[in-house]
C-alpha cells in the first residue's frame, strides 16, 4: 500500500515534467491520466485506511484524516483535468497558443500534485512547505491571462497569502519549541508524537502556536477577516484554476488548521481550540452570507459561497460530537465536488455569454441544454438541498451541534446557511429561468443558438453531480469507516 501513497505523490509531478516538453495533445492526455489516475489511486487506499494507517518511508503517512483531504483534492484534480481540455480551446489571451498551453498544463499539474502532497506528508514543517508551494504555483496560475485585473488579483493573493504563511511559519516554529521541551532537539515535528504528548506539552506555547496557525493557514482557508484576497483570485483566475482554488486549496489549508487543532486539543483540552474555531467560523459565515445577497459577478458569487462553506466547516469543528466531525469530513469531499461543479458551470456561462456579469445571463436552461440543469443541480447542492451530499453533511453538523449542547451555535449556523441559500438561489434562478435574450441585430451570433461550447466541459460536471448524489443517498461502507475514523482522530479518541 505504501507504493500507492508514493504513486499519488508523484503522479502529478511526473505529468508536469512530461508537459514541459510534450506536444499539446500529449499534455492533455497526460493530465487526464494524472488527474483521473490520482483519484483512482486515492480510492484504492480507502479499504485499507478504513482499518489502519499507511506509512511510506519516514516522511509520508496516510491516516483517515489525511485520506479525506486527498480524496477531495483528487476529485477536483480529476474533474478539472478533463474540463481543461474544453476550456483551453478558446482561451489563450492573445498569447502564443502552445506556450500558453504549456504554462497552463504544467501549472495545473504542479498545483494538483502539491495539494495532494500536503495531506500525505507527516510533519508540520513538511506540511508548511507543501502549502507554500501551492501558493506560489497558484499565484502564477491566477495571473496567467496577464490582464490588468488578473495581475492585480495575483499580486493581492501572493502578498496576503505569503504574509499569512509567514505567520503560519511562526506557528510551526513555536510548536517546534513546544515539542522540543518534551522530545529534545532532535525532533522532527511529525504528528503522532505531538498528538500523543498531550499534557506534557507546555500549554502557553501550544496555545500561541494554535492561534497563529488558525490566523496563518486561515488566511488561505479564507476565514474572515483574512479573506480579502479570495473573491478576487477566484474571480480573475481561469475557471479550472478557480475550481481548484475553491474546491481543493481552501480545504488543504483547512487540513493544516486541523492538524494544529488535534495537537492543541491533546495539550489543552478541547475547550480553547473549539472556542477559537467557533469565533472565526461565525464571523466568516455571517459576512459571506451577507455578501452572497448582493453579487453581480457569477464567479465572485461562488467565491463568497466558498467562504460560507469554510465557515460551516470551522463552526462544525467547534462541536465536539463525533457526528458533527463526521459531517465536517464528509462536507470537505462534498464541497469539493459541488463547488468544482459550480465553477465549471460558471466557466461555461462565461464562454457562452462572453462575460461574468450575472445581469447579462438569461435563459440558461433553454440555451445550454446540459450546463443549465447541471448548474442548477450544483447550486441546489451547494445550498444543501437533498439529496445532495452537502445536505447530509450539514445535517450531520447541525444535528451533532444540537446533540452536543451547542444549541445557540447550531441555530445561528442554520439561520446563516439559510440566508446564503437565499442569495445563491435568487441569483441562479434569474440566470436560468428568465426568458432568453431576444435575437437582436446580431441574431446569427452563437449566443442565440442553444448548444454547449464544448462536450469536454460537460462530462466532468456530470461526474461531479453523480458524486454528490451518490454520497448524498448512501455513503459507501469503507468510505463511511474512513470518515468515522477521521472523526475519531479529530475527537481525540486515540
Amino acid at each position: 500500500m505504501s507504493a500507492v501513497v508514493v504513486a499519488v505523490l508523484c503522479i502529478g509531478f511526473a505529468a508536469a515534467l512530461v508537459c514541459l516538453v510534450a506536444p499539446p495533445v500529449v499534455m492533455k492526455a497526460v493530465t487526464i491520466i494524472a488527474g483521473v489516475g490520482s483519484l483512482g489511486l486515492a480510492l484504492s487506499l480507502v479499504p485499507t485506511v478504513a482499518t489502519r494507517d499507511v506509512t511510506a518511508s519516514h516522511y509520508l503517512r496516510v491516516d483517515a484524516l489525511s485520506l479525506v483531504f486527498v480524496l477531495a483534492t483528487a476529485v477536483i484534480y480529476a474533474l478539472v483535468s478533463v474540463y481543461t481540455v474544453g476550456y483551453v480551446e478558446g482561451e489563450h489571451g492573445g498569447q502564443d497558443v502552445e506556450r500558453y498551453l504549456r504554462r497552463f498544463y504544467v501549472g495545473i499539474n504542479v498545483f494538483g500534485a502539491s495539494m495532494l502532497a500536503a495531506p500525505l506528508v507527516d510533519g508540520l514543517a513538511l506540511l508548511w512547505i507543501a502549502i507554500e508551494v501551492t501558493t506560489v504555483v497558484s499565484a502564477l496560475l491566477v495571473a496567467i491571462d496577464i490582464s490588468d485585473t488578473a495581475t492585480e488579483a495575483a499580486w493581492k493573493y501572493l502578498l496576503i497569502a505569503s504574509v499569512g504563511l509567514g505567520v503560519a511559519l511562526l506557528a510551526t516554529i513555536v510548536m517546534d519549541y513546544a515539542g522540543s521541551q518534551v522530545f529534545g532537539t532532535s525532533f522532527d515535528l511529525s504528528y503522532l508524537p505531538l498528538i500523543h504528548a498531550g499534557h506534557q506539552l507546555p500549554a502557553t506555547p501550544v496555545r500561541l502556536a494554535f492561534v497563529l496557525a488558525v490566523m496563518g493557514f486561515g488566511t488561505k482557508v479564507g476565514l474572515v477577516p483574512m479573506h480579502t484576497w479570495l473573491p478576487d483570485a477566484h474571480a480573475e483566475a481561469p475557471t479550472p484554476v478557480s475550481a481548484m482554488l475553491s474546491g481543493a486549496l481552501l480545504t488543504t489549508s483547512f487540513y493544516a488548521v486541523l492538524r494544529y487543532f488535534q495537537i492543541a486539543r491533546g495539550a489543552l483540552g478541547s475547550a480553547f481550540p473549539r472556542e477559537v474555531m467557533l469565533a472565526f467560523g461565525i464571523v466568516s459565515l455571517l459576512l459571506a452570507a451577507l455578501y452572497l445577497l448582493d453579487q453581480h459577478d457569477i464567479k465572485r458569487l461562488f467565491a463568497y459561497s466558498s467562504i460560507e462553506h469554510m465557515g460551516v466547516l470551522t463552526i462544525g469543528m467547534s462541536f465536539a460530537s463525533p457526528l458533527a466531525l463526521f459531517g465536517v469530513l464528509l462536507h470537505v469531499i462534498a464541497h469539493a465536488a459541488a463547488k468544482g461543479n459550480a465553477f465549471m458551470g460558471a466557466g461555461v456561462m462565461v464562454r457562452k455569454y462572453g462575460g461574468k456579469r450575472l445581469a447579462d445571463y438569461r435563459g440558461g436552461l433553454s440555451l445550454l441544454p446540459w450546463t443549465g440543469p447541471l448548474l442548477l443541480a450544483s447550486v441546489l447542492a451547494l445550498s444543501a438541498s437533498p439529496p445532495s451530499a452537502i445536505f447530509r453533511s450539514e445535517f450531520s453538523i447541525v444535528a451533532g451541534g444540537f446533540a452536543d449542547g451547542g444549541n445557540a451555535a447550531a441555530a445561528v449556523l442554520v439561520a446563516l446557511v439559510t440566508v446564503a441559500f437565499v442569495g445563491l438561489t435568487l441569483a441562479s434562478t434569474r440566470i436560468l429561468f428568465a426568458a432568453p435574450p431576444r435575437p437582436g441585430p446580431g441574431a446569427d451570433s452563437p449566443l442565440y443558438h442553444p448548444g454547449e461550447p464544448s462536450i469536454w466541459m460537460v462530462i466532468p460536471m456530470v461526474g461531479g453531480v453523480a458524486i454528490l448524489v451518490l454520497l448524498g443517498v448512501h455513503v459507501p461502507g469503507d468510505l463511511a469507516h474512513v470518515l468515522s475514523r477521521g472523526a475519531a482522530e479529530l475527537g481525540g479518541a486515540r
Binding site: V136, I146, T151, E152, W155, K156, D176, Q181, F187, P205
Partner: protein, 221 residues
C-alpha cells in the same frame, strides 16, 4: 536575583535589537535602494546570529544555513530586486498612507505590543533567551506596518522578505534544532517567492507603467 547573562544570550539579544532597528530604518527609508540595502544588512545580521548560535549551541548544520542564507538574502535577493529597479527605472518608494512620523509612531506601538505581549506569555526555558523571541515578534509586526502603509510593489515585497527575516530570527533563537533540510527548503521557497514577486511586479509595470499599488483598485465588493 538576576543571573549574569551568558555570552550567547547577550550576543543574540544584541543582534535581535539590531534587526529590529534595521526594520524601523526600512520603514523610514524613502529611496528603494536604501530600503534594499537595509534589508541586506538585516539579512547579514541574521547570518551572523546563525553563526553565534552554531558556535555556542554546537549545531554545526547552522554554519551551512548561515552560508546559504548569506548567499541568498544578502547577495541574490538584493541583486534581483536592484535589477528590477534598474529595468523599470523606479527609485522612490510610493508615498505611504501616513506621513513618516506617524508611520514610525504606529510601528512603535505595534512593536511594543508584540514585545510585551510575548513577554507576558512567559515562554521560558533554560536555553531560550526570552527577549529575542519578543523582539522577533516585534520585527514581524513592524514588517506588517511596513507592508500596510507603503503603496508600491517593491516596498511591499521587501516588507514581506523582512517579515520572513523576523520569522527566521524567531526560528534561530527558539528552534535551532529544526532540521537543516527544512531550513534549506524555507530558503529555497523564499527564492521562488522572489522570482514570482518579480514577475508580477514586471507585468504590472509593463501594463500600467508604474510600480504604485494605487492603480490596483479594480477589484472590490
Amino acid at each position: 536575583m538576576h543571573p549574569v547573562p551568558s555570552v550567547f544570550e547577550g550576543a543574540s539579544n544584541t543582534i535581535a535589537v539590531l534587526v529590529l532597528l534595521t526594520e524601523f530604518a526600512m520603514l523610514r527609508a524613502a529611496l528603494l535602494r536604501a530600503q534594499l540595502r537595509l534589508y541586506a544588512a538585516q539579512s547579514l545580521l541574521l547570518s551572523a546570529l546563525a553563526i553565534v548560535v552554531a558556535a555556542s549551541r554546537h549545531v554545526p548544520e547552522l554554519y551551512v544555513l548561515a552560508g546559504l542564507s548569506f548567499v541568498l538574502k544578502v547577495v541574490i535577493v538584493p541583486w534581483v530586486v536592484t535589477r528590477l529597479l534598474r529595468d523599470t527605472s523606479t527609485e522612490i518608494a510610493g508615498s505611504g498612507a501616513l506621513g513618516v512620523a506617524s508611520e514610525v509612531l504606529v510601528a512603535l506601538v505595534a512593536a511594543a505590543f508584540g514585545f510585551f505581549a510575548i513577554g507576558a506569555l512567559n515562554i521560558h526555558s533554560r536555553v531560550l533567551p526570552k527577549t529575542a523571541l519578543s523582539l522577533a515578534f516585534a520585527v514581524v509586526l513592524v514588517a506588517f506596518v511596513l507592508i500596510i502603509v507603503r503603496s508600491d510593489l517593491i516596498s511591499q515585497a521587501v516588507g514581506f522578505f523582512s517579515l520572513e527575516n523576523g520569522v527566521s530570527l524567531a526560528s534561530l533563537v527558539v528552534a535551532s534544532g529544526l532540521p537543516l533540510i527544512l531550513e534549506v527548503a524555507f530558503l529555497f521557497d523564499l527564492l521562488v517567492a522572489v522570482v514570482i514577486f518579480g514577475v508580477l511586479a514586471r507585468v504590472t509595470h509593463g501594463r500600467s507603467g508604474s510600480m504604485s499599488t494605487t492603480m490596483l483598485n479594480a477589484l472590490r465588493g
